[in-house]
Amino acid sequence: MKGKVLSMQEAISRFVADGDTVVMGAALEPMIPFAAGHEIIRQGKKDLTLVGPISDILFDQLIGAGCVRKVVGAWIGNVSEGSAYNFRRAVEEGVPAPLVLEEHSNFSLALALLAGQMGVPFLPTRTLLGSDLARIHPSFKRMECPYTGDKLLLVPALKPDVAILHLPRADAMGNGQIWGSTGLTKEAAMASKRVIIIVEEVVEREVISHDPSRTIIPGFLVDAVVEERWGAHPSPVPGHYDRDHHYYTRYHLETKDREGFLRWLEQWVYGVKDRKEYLKVLGKDYLKGFRIRTRYLSTPVDYGC
């Protein structure tokens, strides 16, 4: 290790600024960078615009902690439980602060980030025609296709300031790898000005170069690599651990009112210095239950010559 490897505290401090547009949870339900989100809360970042398709409860936590001015997303809730209460309180009651929403479907958000990745100002689509989401969105436009006469919706490019990804592994230079479903991980990373990757394991360069098809973001576009085991808990990470459904249920039950959420925040975020202390609260035996029990190994392929 050396290269671009930083502690979580340093990475968030150096590469996330107040007012930034931050994309997180781009893989949808798996590999959500919870540890990074909690460090953002501890560092008291303000006025963030969060971008993500299905953020599960991470966005809810950041909203409740007062870090967020705006959300650009397609679904904000608790995937296995339904509603997320900080989000509801913010929209319904302006607590702890009013929230600006720029709502997408998963696909239109995907296209916005793809346009950002591709370096074009917009991409055309047939989705959302007839949906009230198209009516209320501040910057979708309509267009008649010059080839077919079809009605199309134009989705403008999103270029976040920072992408924060959780991945199973990367080398110290930031060549990050993934397997299993990827959601919008690549598009989010390539569309963003800065990239922070959190990994379960910093591996040798040779692990990367022996399987370069698993690379989802090349190191030359990455600013920081943070090694943080269990950094995506309670969300799952392929090759490492499964989802902790119970944690989502408890969160759902404990955060129904504002005070409950503040207690939750004290226990799991402010009350711990970093991810290591968070894991101590959970306990080793508890975590063991989410480790992989049934292995399902890939067969090596040969990149030789």
Binding site: L28, P30, W75, V91, N106, F107, S131, L133, G183, P236
Partner: protein, 253 residues
């Protein structure tokens, strides 16, 4: 064996919407059970896709609560990006999608965004996720919903996922080149739409419900044909399959 619950009736009705060789945008909960049931009965060649970026043709290795759970990844045939999955949708290669709903109205429009006005909602719901994309782009979609009066209003508060809009040629006029709801499956009945007028009609009533109960518990009134058949009840074999995949009744009891 105990008789079927309303949720089990829904699962079976959902499974019957799936044709062999369909590419199905599955989702979670009841539709996932419908898909697994269809696979083991009449639709062995159907494949299921998930917007995280995943295709499988067999059930997950263990029961799952989200499509990103590891048992859903193990044994998949294709793991990829969301854009590849959405491209299948947009290019017309997805036959069928299932949608859950907070509200669905007489034209099959679905609301998962808010109760009340959008700018100051009484209840703010999580939003579209991929639902609007399925409603706009799949060849057909099926709505799964509890048969409760406030869930079945004449007009939804917000069209998250468009059905037939205001009926007639509304979808075509919006630029939607295919699709629309093929059925609404509630805890009490199956509702379908006239292919010409887009008008909703009562297709069948689940065993254990009556026409009165169906109509009392909804704000709008579908066309009632002269005789409304009973939804064919789940067979013993179907119930066995459902209970194999939901042994504790997490979703179906």
């Amino acid at each position: 064996m105990e008789g079927p619950t309303p949720a089990e009736c829904m699962v079976v009705a959902g499974a019957r919407e799936i044709r062999d060789e369909d590419c199905v945008f599955v989702g979670m909960r009841l539709p996932l059970l419908s898909f697994q049931l269809a696979k083991e009965t009449h639709a062995p060649h159907a494949v299921g896709i998930f917007e995280t970026g995943l295709l499988r043709d067999r059930p997950a290795l263990r029961s799952i609560l989200t499509m990103g759970d590891l048992p859903n990844i193990a044994g998949a045939l294709w793991t990829t990006s969301m854009l590849d999955i959405m491209s299948l949708l947009q290019s017309g290669k997805v036959s069928l999608g299932f949608l859950g709903a907070a509200q669905v109205d007489q034209f099959g429009n679905v609301n998962t965004t808010c109760i009340g006005s959008y700018r100051s909602p009484e209840i703010r719901l999580p939003g579209s996720g991929g639902a609007a994309d399925i409603a706009c782009l799949a060849q057909r979609f099926v709505v799964i919903i509890a048969h409760e009066r406030h869930r079945l209003p004449g007009r939804v508060d917000f069209i998250t996922s468009p059905g037939f809009g205001e009926g007639g040629h509304w979808r075509e006029n919006q630029g939607l080149i295919r699709g629309g709801p093929s059925a609404i499956i509630t805890t009490r009945c199956v509702i379908r739409f006239d292919p010409a007028t887009r008008e909703a009609y009562l297709h069948s009533i689940h065993p254990g419900s009556t026409l009165d109960e169906v109509l009392e518990n909804m704000e709008w009134r579908p066309r009632i044909p002269k005789s409304v058949p009973t939804t064919p009840p789940p067979t013993e074999a179907e119930l066995q399959i459902i209970r194999k995949y939901d042994p504790e009744g997490f979703w179906t009891r």
